[in-house]
Symmetry: C2
């Protein structure tokens, strides 16, 4: 069923699956969920020894569709298809790759769009706020159902990296190797500030109606669009924007009006509009809150090294030189804490121009670092 | 009439004045203004030789009220009172300081809030877009009326610095010394991107009504508030935010809701709300456009040094180490262009933690640099 034009290392058609979890899930906030679903994809096969399972944790606007295509008509593959597939860096001939969609999102796992079994209508703004800890807990429940006792590797970029950090603390015996990419041990004040502006943009949209907009024809699209435009600025580096758009004008001359004049304006508006077609505002609010709250050192008097004490995994921390959202210095905070806690950690800063988004890019040195590490792991060698 | 608690170097009560300019003003956009007003303040006295006049050019949200108080009840003095006054760094015993409000703003000079003499109602969104060049032109017209043929010094921070740059190109014979602080020769793509998000926030506010909201009880306050919140993030450095607010919670604990939880959230909301009380959304839109358009090298095939060729002033360029809106590298672009054009220029980077806002702060070394320069200038020595 693969198109003949697709490369041989393409994973081809993939299908999302769903696991239902009945019973009550106690969340970090004190709220409860009465049953929930997790949508996920898997690529490759789990071996008998259960020594080849890799968990991919997704970032803010990511989902479970990491590699391959859902239909032959799909124009784009999953969001990290450049690294996952047969003979690719994360080689699905060797590894069993699992990628769940986090609860609270809007891509299939239980979230604001889901029907609340208690009320019979969608949760909407009443879906409880979830935390990184909650996500990791539900991912562990999924692992149980999939028969994965121990992840050989867990990998995540950005908010995904925070989940990896939490996994290594919450379930030290279930993680052998942790790859934390373009992440931070907690948000900086500036990070929270940007999230807050995004949230206010959504919440002040005339169609938001305190989150009760599912029945309405008018969704808080302008607010969500603003949030995404702002996000995009922080995902790209100043240099990357200059290189890509500079001060180029759409029509070659200044028009002295408020239509998009500079190419960067068109780009941001386009990105914003495209986002509202695939994302839900209530989910976006909730996910930014999970980001804000994440702070594993919060339970250990601010000491990240104390927080990391339970971890037994080997760590590889990767940062990107041009990332100003989660700069290399933020990754180095994790490295320092791990060293102080006497953990095994390697660190590499990849030279890049694409800012925070670098973690999604097929930068040769970056993929080579992961490939080399996975080669060693596949051979049973230490990281 | 001064309060006894005020310091002796306080300039005391000051009064804004207005000059009306009749006739038609041709703007860079091709539009025309049929008569306009400029509101301004002056401190100190112009000497007979006209050798002590200093022009202060204000930044995006600044105005003509730079120093002193309008009433004894005022809680705050003008926005740069820490540097201007008798025996202060910009010593009003020695210098005649002039500070106009730029047209297009909302503090008294002609702008969207003003009555259009042609229609008899306020310009609103029909006030023409103005440029830095237009501002400088109208400032020169004001200088004519005030009897100032030559400015001994023109000083401006941020967008004010861009006006200084333009002055030295447009009116080289009317400027002896130019102090350009925390500025850039043009906006970067990222700078334009942030402006664009701010504009979209205002323009998508349900009360904006394409700028026709003056008759309405409901103004586009939420959009303007968002724009200001976003602005504030770019005015402060990451470190300054961390130092000032960190991840401090308002109520000491996470509440799992959308009320302001972190102190930074309260701060931004407060700053946003305070701004809508004093600023007009139509003006804000227009001012961000003037920023976007500024690019003196646009007329000289992208060469700033060619653009600077006409300048005869001596330049002092000042940047701040923690400024990421207009970083030291951006100031150095101006320095390099001036050197290439064989102009007389000195440059200093001030160590600071407060980001772009540093230019408003009484940082001792920063004020000392300006004081030393003005001392030499007052003595008739070269900068």
């Amino acid at each position: 069923m693969q198109k003949s034009t697709r490369p041989v290392d393409d994973i081809g058609l993939v299908e999302p699956k769903t696991k239902h979890f009945s019973g009550t899930l106690a969340l970090a906030s004190g709220s409860e969920l009465h049953g929930f679903d997790i949508v996920y994809e898997t690529y490759g096969k789990l071996n008998k020894e259960c020594s080849n399972a890799i968990l991919i944790c997704h970032a803010l606007s990511g989902d479970h569709h990491v590699a391959g295509y859902h239909t032959p008509q799909d124009k784009k593959p999953g969001w990290w298809d450049n690294i996952i597939g047969p003979n690719k860096t994360i080689d699905t001939n060797r590894f069993f790759v699992v990628s769940p969609n986090n609860i609270g999102g809007c891509s299939g796992s239980s979230g604001p769009l889901t029907i609340n079994p208690v009320t019979g209508s969608s949760y909407g703004p009443n879906f409880p706020l979830v935390t990184v800890k909650d996500w990791v807990k539900t991912q562990a429940m999924l692992a149980d159902k999939l028969g994965v006792d121990v992840w050989t590797v867990i990998i995540g970029g950005s908010l995904g990296g925070m989940q990896c950090l939490e996994w290594s603390i919450s379930y030290p015996n279930r993680v052998k190797n942790t790859f934390i990419i373009a992440a931070a041990p907690k948000l900086s004040t500036q990070n929270i500030a940007f999230n807050e502006v995004s949230r206010q943009a959504i919440r002040s949209d005339q169609n938001f109606n305190e989150g009760n907009y599912y029945e309405s024809d008018n969704k808080p699209e302008l607010g969500l669009m603003l949030a995404r435009m702002l996000g995009h600025i922080t995902y790209l580096s100043d240099d990357a924007l200059d290189e890509k758009f500079g001060r180029e004008l759409r029509d070659g001359e200044i028009k002295f009006g408020y239509e998009a004049e500079f190419q960067i304006e068109s780009y941001l508006r386009y990105q914003g509009r495209a986002f509202v077609d695939r994302f839900d505002a209530n989910s976006y609010l909730l996910l930014t809150k999970a980001l804000d709250y994440f702070d594993p050192a919060g339970d250990t008097e601010g000491s990240l090294s104390k927080a990391m004490a339970p971890a037994t995994a080997k760590f590889m921390i990767i940062s990107f030189s041009s990332d100003w959202r989660f700069s290399p210095e933020r990754s180095q905070e994790i490295v320092s804490a791990l060293l102080e806690a006497n953990k095994c950690v390697s660190y590499i800063e990849i030279q890049s121009t694409q800012g925070h988004d670098s973690f999604l890019m097929p930068i040769p040195r970056y993929h080579q670092v992961i490939k080399t590490a996975l080669d060693r792991i596949a051979k049973g060698l230490d990281l």
